[in-house]
């Protein structure tokens, strides 16, 4: 195993430790190491690493650079709201804060390159310097020249520097129109079931044996592997349900080796947890409380989605209903629905085939303010004076920088929600919806 991580220029002991820290990623780590070469050797200017969420990209890079004590700067592109922050962090970790303070306000790329070169001449690189960019897909949204420049930074600053980009997206989606230096692509494949088992077994509970925990993980994967392969989620689930798994042990009913009984005990709980995979409806703390309360069948604790009921003032409910109607009904049908003496509208003409099927599938359509108000006044049964309170409820909604003249709105609530609302004011909304005619 360790034979993979053999690279001249690094201490054997350290490589050993790295190998221990990176289970199931030996191949990728070995490849990276061989790319990096000896510490003082120049490396490939830019490396692009991609793979799904929780496939160990950041972890591998981080461990390698940290354990081998190579000079590096790790930057998360989410955090860099401006390029200045990016430049600053890089300079800070390579040359200290003096260099970072040399940056002018709102620096450009050339400022960065200039200062870098200046600093480099004072303290030239003895080992390859690495710049790690996490969530590199965000670089696409920054200045057009940033990504190409980073890819060939080695040339620009004439220093032994390598840029490593980490992303969940393939390189094809990055390539700018103007063309650029092609980085070295490296794919991190998903973990297989066996690998997951191996990794998850590592964070065992200190008071139980490794075999016991491994058998627990085995059971867990058996249930969840078919629906979820995300390492992070699985780890979360493992932590959540472990205490339940151990319960019979703590009560002294079974021994650690009695896998079958343990399985029988944990199965219903895992099934229940299955319903909420990925949802994170309740906090882990609350989940534990729920598990304890289960015996009492107390419904006090419910998930986030269980609370869908919203209390609204009377007129607000009607405003919402009016908005919903305006969103999902074609404007030309308003006459039919809201006028008392709408005259004869021929049914065939009225119901156009293609329009009928689509409204609720297509989603809400925008509508102007006066149409909303007109529907509102006809929907509310009593005569309502157009008061400021009603207008102000509307005005707070106009927060977009749309045109002030004739703002347009969409109603974003779901069908179920509006049905529940209209039931509370005893308004039969289905009768007024074009789709259900």
């Amino acid at each position: 195993m360790t034979s993979l991580l053999r690279q001249p220029g690094y201490e054997e002991e350290r490589l050993q430790r790295v190998a221990e820290l990176l289970p199931c990623r030996e191949v990728q780590a070995g490849l990276l190491l061989s790319l990096m070469g000896k510490p003082q050797q120049y490396s490939y200017p830019s490396v692009f690493i991609y793979g799904h969420q929780a496939s160990g990209k950041s972890h591998v890079i981080h461990v390698l650079l940290k354990e081998l004590e190579l000079p590096h700067a790790t930057v998360s592109c989410v955090e860099c709201v401006s390029v200045a922050l990016l430049f600053e962090q890089v300079l800070l970790s390579f040359f200290g804060c003096d260099a970072a303070s040399l940056l002018p306000r709102s620096p450009s790329l050339s400022d960065f390159v200039r200062i870098y070169r200046q600093q480099r001449s004072q303290s030239p690189a003895k080992q390859t310097r690495y710049i790690v960019m996490e969530k590199a897909e965000l670089l696409r949204d920054t200045d057009a020249n940033l990504l190409p420049a980073l890819l060939r930074l080695q040339e620009l600053v004439e220093d032994n520097v390598t840029v490593i980009l980490l992303s969940e997206i393939v390189w094809d989606k990055f390539r700018p129109n103007t063309g650029c230096f092609e980085p070295l692509l490296l794919h991190f494949p998903d973990y297989s079931k066996g690998e997951l088992q191996q990794i998850l077994s590592q964070d065992r509970h200190p008071s139980y044996s490794a075999e016991f925990y491994a058998s627990y993980i085995n059971i867990l994967l058996g249930v969840f592997y078919s629906v979820c392969r995300d390492l992070r989620e699985l780890r979360h689930l493992a932590a959540l349900n472990f205490s339940k798994f151990c319960e019979p042990l703590a009560e002294g009913k079974v021994k650690e080796t009695d896998t079958h009984k343990l399985w029988r005990n944990i199965e219903p709980h895992l099934k229940k947890a299955m319903q909420t995979v990925y949802l994170r409806e309740v906090s882990s703390l609350q989940w534990e409380q729920m598990q304890q309360m289960e015996e009492k069948e107390s419904g006090a604790l419910r998930g986030l989605s269980a609370h869908t009921h919203v209390e609204l003032p009377y007129y607000s409910k009607f405003l919402l209903i009016a908005a919903y109607l305006a969103s999902y009904n074609p404007a030309r049908t308003d006459k039919r629905f809201f006028l008392k003496h709408h005259g004869k509208i021929r049914k065939t003409n009225f119901l156009k085939k293609n329009e009928k099927t689509s409204n609720h599938l297509l989603g809400p359509k925008p509508f102007p303010l006066d149409r909303l108000l007109a529907i509102f006044y006809s929907v509310v049964d009593s005569r309502v004076a157009p008061t400021a309170s009603i207008f102000s409820q509307l005005l707070t909604k106009v927060s977009h920088d749309d045109q002030l003249d004739a703002p347009k709105y969409k109603c974003a609530v779901s069908m179920d929600f509006i049905c529940a609302i209209s039931r509370t004011v005893s308004f039969d909304i289905v009768k007024y919806l074009y789709d259900f005619l």
Binding site: S76, R105, S283, S305, E311, T387
Partner: protein, 1044 residues
């Protein structure tokens, strides 16, 4: 030395002789006096006092008490001898005697050493003589002294001394002794002991006295005892001693002490009780205690710092959020923060000016302003306290949550390690009444700052449009510095690079560094401690709390990025989020994708619904006789409908009440009488003639007058003093009406609120509205409710009546007490029914069951109906079972209560003083109608401009009106499409008619008119009355129809 002594004695003896002679002279003068006996007595008393003061002034109490005692003995004896000649009508005689006796007793208690035998014997004999003399004439003022004189020394009674040395003798002996001494003397003894610094002896004596049943309600021994132990005992003992005392009694004692002028004692007692409540985490009376405590402390402590110090000490004892909130409130009230006191004065002055400016009946505007201000202050603080109490539960659990989070972070068990990368998040669901949230968040962050962490930042969506702004706000609020964001702001670019060093970069790593230095700084004071116990001390790692006030309004993108960034730093920085959610918690899932929400460890907290909140506020604020100011039915209706239909905001509701309050005091001159009973009675006496005339014009008063006798009518209408007397009576009557109204209202509500279909409403406020409107018993719903009540089963009825009893229990008015007694009596009779029924099996049942049996046989519909009717008839005619009789009686009793107490306030005389009636004003102010007012302005400009030339009849617009009004008026006459040129010509005609120019240019369009017209048209377009159209050239479309 010995020489001087004798000389002094000689002097004394001579002086006493002289005194005796002078008294003798006075007595003889009295006997021989030719004046009437009353005048002679008065004269004698005066002379007597003068002589006594003259002589007694020669010695000082502390230095030579013995000669003074002689003086008193002589004086009392002489007075006793003279009593037979004094008139019994003279008030001064008993008064003087009592004073003499009291000061003599005080002197005796003061005597430091043992009294020489001869003197004491003389005192004893003269007291005996004097007492017997006085008893003959029927006065007993000397009882006190004669009791003292019977013993052989002031303090030498065996029972007393054994009590004082803490060896309590037998109860009978003690009681006999206490009976003998009397409360006054014992009180003096205790006071003397306290003065002599033997507080523990005083405490023992006071305790014995307080336990003696004969002294109940006399002499405040309990209070003295508590005060004594407050001064001597340690904290624990004190707590034990006061554990059983009710806070209401304690409050009374504190008030007593304060009114006696013993502020120190009051504070002592008050802090003892407050501490007890704090330690027990009990909120009963806590607000009153805290308030008293702060007021007393402020009087005794001159500096605000000392006050703050004391408050902090108290806060450390707190075990419940509510207490901390109370403390925060009093600290804020006392103005310990920044600049308040100086500018406060100025402000109120200008406010008052505002108030009296243009207010109705200016002469008593000052009083009214003060009343209004006081009332509002009271309402405000009460509602705040109420709010805090309502929020207490949720805030408590939130605080627990933050504490737990910060502590689990430092634990090293497996489960919390597995969770280490999650950011603890509290989702706080507050309901849609967004305006109310501010207060909740304010108290939340106050509490967090106070008891959990100094690092709290709250952000609002509208100030965080982009990630960098959010970042900037968070950093600024946490670090209290200016943070630069790299914006392209040129003026700042000029600043030198040295400035750049100082300003902080906007990233979380800066925050991390800052946090590390902060925590390190605080931990250097206890060096090494952090090393040995890294997890034990959580104050060293206080969490950083970020509050998102309105989660829904945040840009999801920004929020996601921020959470992603934060999760990168979670190991170094103990972050925590609180999300304020207005709609439903599922918005979190809508806003955040799984990759982000999996970084959070969300816990849900649901706050009280706002309708419940309103119900509590109405219950505590409106449905109580505590506040003299009332709203009438229509105003209530407006306020409640604004709440229910428009905003669900309790804060706005209270604002509405404030507006009504202000309007009432501003517009109603008679509102001076809208205050507490005592003040109102006083204010009646000070009413000016004009205001009395106003009273005479009140409709309710007119009705009252009409019912009086003709002579009385004349009196009331002409005699001011008579009117004042009657007014006082009426005001008291109004107060009594309120005192009875609310309990009865609540009783009726408890009875009817559980009936099917709620004939009188589910909430008390609905019933209250009905009662305000008209006689509730004439209401149809009331009849149905009563009918339904007559069908209640026994156990239901008993529980309901039981609840009514609970409602009536604390009410102190006489009528309610009588009602309570009656109700209790009914209840016991209901309960007795069981035993009675068990003895005699009901024979009536047989008769009822027989038709039912018949009924089962028949299936024909017509027959069924007939039998049912028959059954009904027969049941009505049948002898009622004892339960039914009793039930009818109970309901009739309730009915009579309702009829006598729930009449609408309009029927009460002088109700105009307390009730605010102008619902239109409230509606206009709170629920404005912009469109209607624009139309009103355009169609009758005089309404707003108040210019005489614009005044017209029959709704037409004068020629001189502003251009836009003319254009508006003209456009009303057009159809859907308006021809601009026709419109212009019509306009020019009207305008030139107004100018009255020469006929040549009449109706001609010149450039100025053209420009004015264009402006008017574009203004109309801006206001939304017309819009341009493409259907026809030179035409605009009209957009409004009819009057809105």
């Amino acid at each position: 030395m010995a020489e001087g002594e004798t000389e002094k004695e000689y002097d004394t003896r001579k002086a006493i002789e002289e005194l005796r002679e002078r008294f003798q002279g006075l007595t003889t003068a009295l006997k021989e006096s030719s004046q009437s006996s009353l005048e002679a007595s008065l004269h004698f008393c005066q002379e007597f006092c003068q002589v006594l003061v003259e002589h007694a002034g020669r010695w000082k109490t502390d230095e030579d008490p013995l000669p003074l005692l002689e003086v008193y003995t002589v004086a009392i004896l002489s007075f006793a001898k003279a009593v037979s000649c004094l008139s019994s009508e003279c008030e001064n005689v008993p008064l003087l005697l009592e004073k003499l006796a009291l000061s003599c007793a005080e002197l005796l208690l003061l005597l430091p050493q043992h009294v020489p035998g001869a003197l004491w014997e003389e005192f004893q004999s003269s007291m005996k003589l004097a007492h017997s003399l006085l008893q003959e004439s029927g006065s007993t003022q000397l009882c006190l002294l004669s009791v003292l004189a019977q013993q052989d020394g002031v303090w030498s009674n065996t029972t007393l001394s054994s009590i004082l040395s803490n060896q309590i003798p037998q109860t009978e002996q003690v009681h006999a002794y206490l009976e003998l001494e009397g409360a006054t003397l014992l009180n003096m003894r205790i006071k003397h002991l306290i003065k002599m610094d033997s507080v523990d002896k005083a405490a023992v004596l006071a305790k014995i006295c307080s336990e003696y049943p004969g002294y109940e309600g006399k002499g405040n021994f309990k209070q003295t005892y508590l005060l004594c132990i407050c001064m001597t005992k340690s904290q624990e003992q004190l707590m034990e001693e006061i554990a059983s005392i009710d806070c209401k009694d304690a409050l009374e004692m504190i008030c007593n002490l304060e009114s006696d002028g013993d502020e120190k004692g009051a504070l002592c007692l008050c802090s003892a009780f407050l501490k007890r409540q704090l330690l027990q985490g009990d909120v009963y009376c806590a607000w009153e205690l805290t308030l008293f405590w702060s007021k007393l402390l402020m009087r005794l402590e001159s500096s605000a710092d000392a006050f703050l110090g004391h408050s902090k000490e108290m806060a450390l004892l707190c075990r419940s959020v509510c207490h901390i909130l109370f403390l925060i409130k009093v600290i804020q009230n006392e103005g310990c923060f920044v600049f308040k006191p100086s500018c406060k004065k100025k402000k109120t002055v200008s406010l008052e000016d505002h108030f009296s400016h243009g207010c109705e009946g200016a002469e008593n505007s000052e009083t009214r302003f003060k009343l209004c201000q006081d009332l509002w202050d009271k309402i405000k603080s009460d509602t705040e306290v109420l709010q805090d109490e309502l929020n207490r539960k949720i805030l408590d659990s939130l605080l627990d949550f933050t504490r737990k989070c910060s502590s689990t972070r430092q634990h090293i068990d497996w489960a919390s390690q597995m969770r280490a990368s999650e950011i603890p998040t509290a989702a706080l669901v507050l309901g849609v009444n967004v305006p109310d949230h501010d207060m909740t968040f304010q108290s939340l962050s106050d509490l967090l700052l106070h008891s959990v962490t100094p690092h709290v930042a709250s952000v609002q969506a509208k100030e965080c449009g982009a990630l960098k702004h959010l970042m900037k706000r968070v950093l600024e609020r946490l670090m209290d510095t200016v943070v630069t964001v790299d914006d392209e702001e040129e003026e700042e670019a000029e600043q030198t690079s040295t400035q750049l060093h100082k300003s902080v970069h906007c990233s979380l790593s800066t925050l991390c560094d800052w946090y590390n230095t902060k925590t390190k700084k605080s931990s250097t004071s206890t060096p090494g401690k952090k090393r040995c116990s890294p997890g034990g001390d959580d104050p060293q790692q206080p969490p950083v709390v970020i509050i998102f006030k309105d989660l829904e309004a945040f840009n999801p993108r920004v929020l996601q990025d921020f959470i992603l960034i934060c999760s990168r730093y979670i190991e170094r920085l103990p972050l925590m989020f609180i999300f304020g959610i207005a709609t439903s918690p599922s918005t979190i899932q809508h806003m955040l994708p799984h990759s982000v929400s999996s970084l959070l460890c969300i816990e849900l907290f649901q706050s009280l619904s706002c309708t419940q909140h309103l119900a509590t506020v109405i219950d505590k604020l409106i449905l109580t006789p505590q506040f003299p100011f009332k709203l009438n039915g229509k105003v209530m209706q407006v306020l409640i409908s604004i709440f229910l239909y428009h905003d669900f905001s309790v804060r706005n509701f209270i604002k509405g009440v404030q507006l009504a309050l202000l309007e009432h005091f501003h517009s109603q001159p008679l509102s001076v009488l809208c205050c507490r009973k005592k003040e109102a009675v006083l204010n009646v006496m000070q009413l000016s003639h004009r205001n009395l005339e106003r009273i005479r014009h009140l409709p309710s008063f007119k009705r009252y007058v009409e019912k009086q006798e003709p002579q009385e009518q004349v009196n009331l209408l002409t005699d001011d003093t008579r009117l004042k007397v009657v007014c006082q009576k009426l005001i008291k009557g109004l107060r009594k009406y309120h005192k009875n109204y609310y309990p009865v209202l609540r009783c009726l509500h408890t009875l009817t609120s559980s009936l099917p279909r709620y004939p009188l409403g589910k909430q008390v406020r609905e019933l209250h509205l009905i009662c305000l409107e008209k006689h509730v018993w004439e209401n149809e719903d009331y009849q149905t409710a009563m009918k339904l009540l007559k069908m209640l089963a026994k156990d239901e009825l008993i529980t309901l009546l039981q609840r009514c009893v609970e409602i009536l229990q604390p009410v102190k008015s006489k009528k309610m007490k009588a009602a309570l007694v009656q109700l209790k009596d009914l209840l016991t009779r209901f309960k007795q029914l069981d035993t009675v029924a068990a003895e005699t099996p009901p024979c009536a049942e047989d008769c009822i069951t027989s038709p039912v049996k018949d009924l089962q046989k028949k299936t024909d519909l017509f027959q069924l109906q007939k039998t049912l009717l028959e059954m009904n008839e027969s049941r009505r005619a049948k002898k009622l079972s004892p339960f039914e009789v009793l039930r009818n009686e109970a309901l009739e009793f309730i009915d009579s209560l309702v009829k006598s107490h729930l009449s609408p306030p309009e029927s009460q005389t002088l109700n105009e003083v307390c009730y605010y009636t102008s619902s239109a004003t409230v509606r206009r102010h709170l629920n404005a109608t912009p469109r209607t007012s624009i139309q009103a302005a355009l169609s009758s400009p005089y309404y707003y401009l108040q210019n005489e030339s614009l005044k017209t009849e029959d709704g037409s617009v004068s020629n001189a009106a502003p251009d836009i009004c003319i254009a508006y008026k003209l456009h009303l006459e057009c159809g859907r499409l308006i021809n601009l040129y026709d419109w212009l010509e019509a306009y020019a005609t009207v305008v030139s008619a107004a100018e009255g120019n020469n006929p040549d240019s009449f109706g001609k369009v010149d450039e100025v008119k053209h420009a004015r017209f264009i402006q008017a048209v574009s203004e109309l377009e801006f206001l939304g009355f017309i819009k341009s159209t493409k259907q026809k050239t030179d035409h605009v479309a009209r957009l409004t129809w009819g009057g809105c």
